[in-house]
């Protein structure tokens, strides 16, 4: 499997497993990182890439297995440990302190001090400016991080990692919020680091990017490593085959039913952003009964925020929504759910589930009033509904009284979907419904979406996965920078058109624009 190479192996993972409550994120992975090369790691959402990298960076400790750094067994009890051994990481979710300046972020925990242990801000800012200069980011080191665009924040994160002078630098989707011009600059920085013998681990979803800069490639699927090769020996098809495996994605074919009348309409939805500007910028769309409308967009495009507005989670959002032609005047979530809206949030752990309650309690949480006589919850009725939902969605659980956190990610997601369905919705909002769940559960979720649309539900689903949006949607809306930048019928949508629309408003931005 392993290609013999001219680059030395600097770090080696042996039989590493990581288990979270609810999911096995990495199973018996063997992974090698080579010096002076770009080691690419690919895999679908939830394949375990980020977890594997967090183990290398000392953020997470492996449940089983060992780590060898230059042939010597090591264990990192914290990211500080890993940094001391020369391992730096650019995190996917930004790990910055919004309330501190760029320079303070870059030197956090490694503050430059003078003889009296006082922080030497001027020296910090001077050094920070050097790193930022290399990234040509046009960011002043004394700016507050929370005032920066998300792409600029990503550059700060990169500058911070570069400033570590690491021997191994891990980059977890460093380009997800960067413009094309910024990506070019990043690649130049990477080439420079490579020349200096730094081992780079690079994670991305963008295959063309990987093929361009990678030297070695490792493919992960469902927490297992399915392929390791030199980049020059492989092509896109090989990568995709390793990523998806023989069981190609099961998207559940459209069944050819015809959508009915309009069931939902949003008009002119706006949501102001705290830092100025609009997170959701005058978005209007309509949805027919039995229709699946996919909303495609990159991270931070405003998809989740749009859903939040529709559910009434932001009091200061403006615009109007209509269900079956009738205006929804209720402004709070509780009554909007009663009107027939239901949201399956993107972040299962934070917003979808009450992890310490049982599967059954989670399923019925949003629809308790259905099982209540006077003020007494009828146990029999509740159990009946729970059993039915467990069967319908094929939730694998021995006993619904089990804590929901003991389920696997896919089954947890089904619980969240079941909770929404028990409220008897007319319109279902699904935010990244397939994030972080295994292939089998994904197929189940997609099948459920098809079935629901056949039953006449309107489904709005947001995703950043092109395949998914192409395969599942009847129509596709594209969002970028808070705006609706495209609306395609399934028949006329092409991947290129979607990608182009999703990049609108993300082009090279004039640096140092004045803040409102």
């Amino acid at each position: 499997m392993t290609a013999a190479g001219d680059h030395d192996v600097i770090l080696k993972l042996e039989d590493v497993s990581k288990i979270y409550s609810g999911t096995v994120a990495v199973k018996r992975a063997n992974f090698e990182v080579r010096k002076g090369a770009v080691n690419v790691l690919v895999g679908e959402n939830g394949a375990g890439k980020s977890t594997l990298m967090k183990i290398i960076a000392g953020v997470e400790q492996p449940t089983l297995g060992r780590i060898l750094l230059e042939g010597e067994e090591v264990s990192f009890s914290s990211s500080g440990d890993a940094v001391n051994r020369g391992i730096g990481m650019v995190f996917q979710e930004l790990n910055l302190f919004g309330n501190l300046s760029v320079a303070e972020n870059i030197f956090a925990t490694r503050e430059i001090t003078n003889r009296f242990r006082k922080i030497d801000s001027r020296e910090q800012e001077r050094r920070a400016a050097e790193f930022l200069e290399r990234l040509q980011a046009g960011i002043r080191p004394d700016m507050l991080v929370e005032d920066l665009r998300i792409g600029q924040q990503q550059l700060v994160e990169i500058a911070k990692a570069v400033s570590l002078d690491a021997r191994i630098l891990i980059m977890d989707e460093p380009t997800s919020a960067l413009s094309a011009a910024e990506v070019e600059i990043l690649f130049k920085v990477i080439a420079d680091l490579k020349a200096r013998g730094v081992a780079i681990v690079y994670i991305s979803h963008r295959l063309e990017e990987l093929i361009r800069i990678g030297d070695y490639i490792t493919v992960l699927r469902d927490g297992r490593i399915t392929g390791q090769e030199r980049m020059k020996n492989v092509d896109t098809q090989w990568i995709v085959r390793q990523m998806i495996g023989s069981d190609a994605k099961d998207f559940a074919k459209p069944d050819g039913h015809v959508p009915g009348d309009e069931i939902f309409r949003a008009e002119d939805i706006c949501l102001p952003r705290v830092t100025g500007g609009l997170a959701v910028d005058h978005v209007s769309l309509s949805l027919r009964a039995g229709e699946i409308l996919g909303i495609y967009g990159l991270m931070g495009a405003g998809r989740s925020e749009l859903f939040d507005c529709i559910m009434g989670r932001h009091g200061h959002a403006t615009g109007a929504i209509f269900i079956a032609g009738k205006k929804v005047r209720e402004r709070d979530t509780t009554r909007r759910i009663r009107r027939g809206l239901a949201l399956i949030p993107e972040d299962r752990q934070r917003e979808g589930l009450v992890s310490i309650l049982s599967v059954a309690s989670n399923l019925t949480l949003a629809s308790l009033s259905r099982f209540v006589r006077l003020f007494h919850i009828s146990g029999a009725k509740e159990n009946q509904a729970v059993t039915q939902m467990v069967r319908e969605l094929a939730i694998k659980v021995a006993d619904p009284a089990q804590e929901v956190s003991s389920l696997s990610g896919g089954n947890q997601q089904k619980v969240v979907i079941g909770k929404a369905l028990l409220t008897g919705p007319k319109v279902l909002l699904m935010d990244e419904p397939s994030r972080g769940i295994d292939v089998g559960a994904k197929a189940d979720v997609f099948r459920t979406m098809r079935k629901l649309s056949r039953d006449g539900l309107g489904i709005l689903f947001a995703t950043s996965d092109l395949d998914e949006v192409m395969a599942l949607s009847d129509r596709i809306a594209v969002m970028s920078n808070g705006k609706l930048t495209g609306m395609f019928d399934r028949a006329e949508a092409t991947e290129a058109a979607l990608v182009a629309a999703s990049a609108l408003g993300h082009g090279p931005v004039p640096h140092m624009e004045p803040r409102p």
Partner: protein
């Protein structure tokens, strides 16, 4: 990390479940332990008279602890209960002695039943103030209830200039007699306060287990954001728990002034700490989402028996405080150990399965 500790914990996973059961029953074990210990160490401990007296002491703390349990399950804290006890006692005492002067030459006197209702309403009202501060004005529960703690205590002292309202027998011609019933009366051989405790406890336990409101209380404490998205009226749930806590405190205020037949404005100082201790001892998690009424009652009994038993043994009150503190710390340490063990057992089961 090497594979040695991992293997060791796989081996301990099966024996872990026995340990886990013991840890889960720890409050009960503690209760039985203190009962056995004091029945041997303290003479007369098991006499009926002493058991009833102790139950009366325990009941006061148990009321407060029940209200506190709901508040803590939602992820909050209510520091004001002790002051509400004091203020409500003063309200009851004032009404028995003085009635309400209408300023037009008439004074209204209420009968005891009406006085009790008014006092309870005052308790609920103060709870509502806590709730409004926390839900509408976004004050942290600790700070909001700390503020109300001072305000309520100050009002209690102001109501009498710091003096005690003595001798609350009332006057037969005004219909204000019978205030002593709550504290001294008996039904079927048990003190009235015990009966009230039973009724409130059963009601609270029922609420927690079989009503939507109860389920929502747990959901709010477990994950407020998820609860909100599921359509739970988080603010209403929080209002309720603070109002219920205020209600419980008012009940205690009534019982204490009825037992003493006098209202003292300093009554109830530091009661909130005992209530928190009982809730925590009973397995309520300070981070919210976990706890039971039954556990809290057992916790209140452990603390109550411990302090009464130590008094009977003649242990100095200074040592009593040290011992009480240690018991609480041990309880929480065991609680944390149980959580860790539990999650380790499930993780290892999954590792074997997956």
């Amino acid at each position: 990390m090497t594979d040695i500790p991992a293997k060791a914990s796989v081996a301990s996973a099966s024996s872990g479940s026995v340990l886990l059961t013991l840890m889960k029953a720890r409050t009960f074990i503690a209760l039985i332990a203190v009962l056995i210990f004091f029945s041997i160490a303290a003479p007369n401990f098991l006499s009926a008279a002493n058991l009833i007296l102790m139950s009366k002491h325990v009941a006061l703390n148990a009321f407060l602890a029940m209200g506190m349990t709901f508040v803590i399950i939602t992820g909050g804290i209510d520091l004001s209960v002790g002051s509400i006890v004091g203020l409500c006692g003063m309200v009851a005492g004032y009404l028995v002695l003085n009635g309400i002067d209408l300023q037009v030459g008439y004074t209204i006197y209420f009968n005891v039943f009406e006085i009790a209702l008014i006092t309870l309403a005052v308790g609920i009202l103060i709870g509502a103030v806590n709730g409004l501060l926390i839900t509408r004005l976004n004050v942290a529960p600790f700070i909001a209830t700390l503020g109300v703690l001072y305000v309520a205590r100050g009002l209690a002292l102001l109501s009498s200039d710091g003096r005690t309202f003595p001798n609350l027998v009332g006057k037969p011609d005004l219909g204000t007699t019978g205030f002593g019933f709550l504290g001294a009366g008996r039904l079927l051989g048990l003190p009235v306060s015990i009966w009230i405790l039973v009724v409130v406890a059963v009601g609270a336990a029922y609420l927690a287990k079989y009503t939507p409101l109860g389920r929502h209380i747990f959901a709010v404490g477990g994950n407020e954001r998820a609860a909100r998205i599921s359509g739970v009226r988080v603010n209403m749930v929080k209002m309720f728990v603070y109002m219920f806590s205020g209600f419980c405190a008012a009940v205690v205020g009534l019982i204490i002034s009825s037992e003493l037949m006098a209202s003292h404005p300093a009554t109830g100082e530091s009661f909130e700490l005992n209530a928190i201790a009982a809730a925590v001892l009973g397995g309520t998690s300070m981070s919210g989402g976990r706890g039971t009424i039954g556990g809290t009652i057992v916790g209140a009994f452990v603390i109550g028996i411990l302090s009464d038993g130590l008094v009977m043994m003649g242990v100095s009150s200074f040592w009593q405080m040290v011992i009480k503190g240690l018991v609480i710390i041990v309880a929480v340490v065991v609680d944390q150990a149980q959580r860790r063990l539990q999650s380790r057992v499930t993780l290892m089961q999954m590792a074997k399965a997956g």
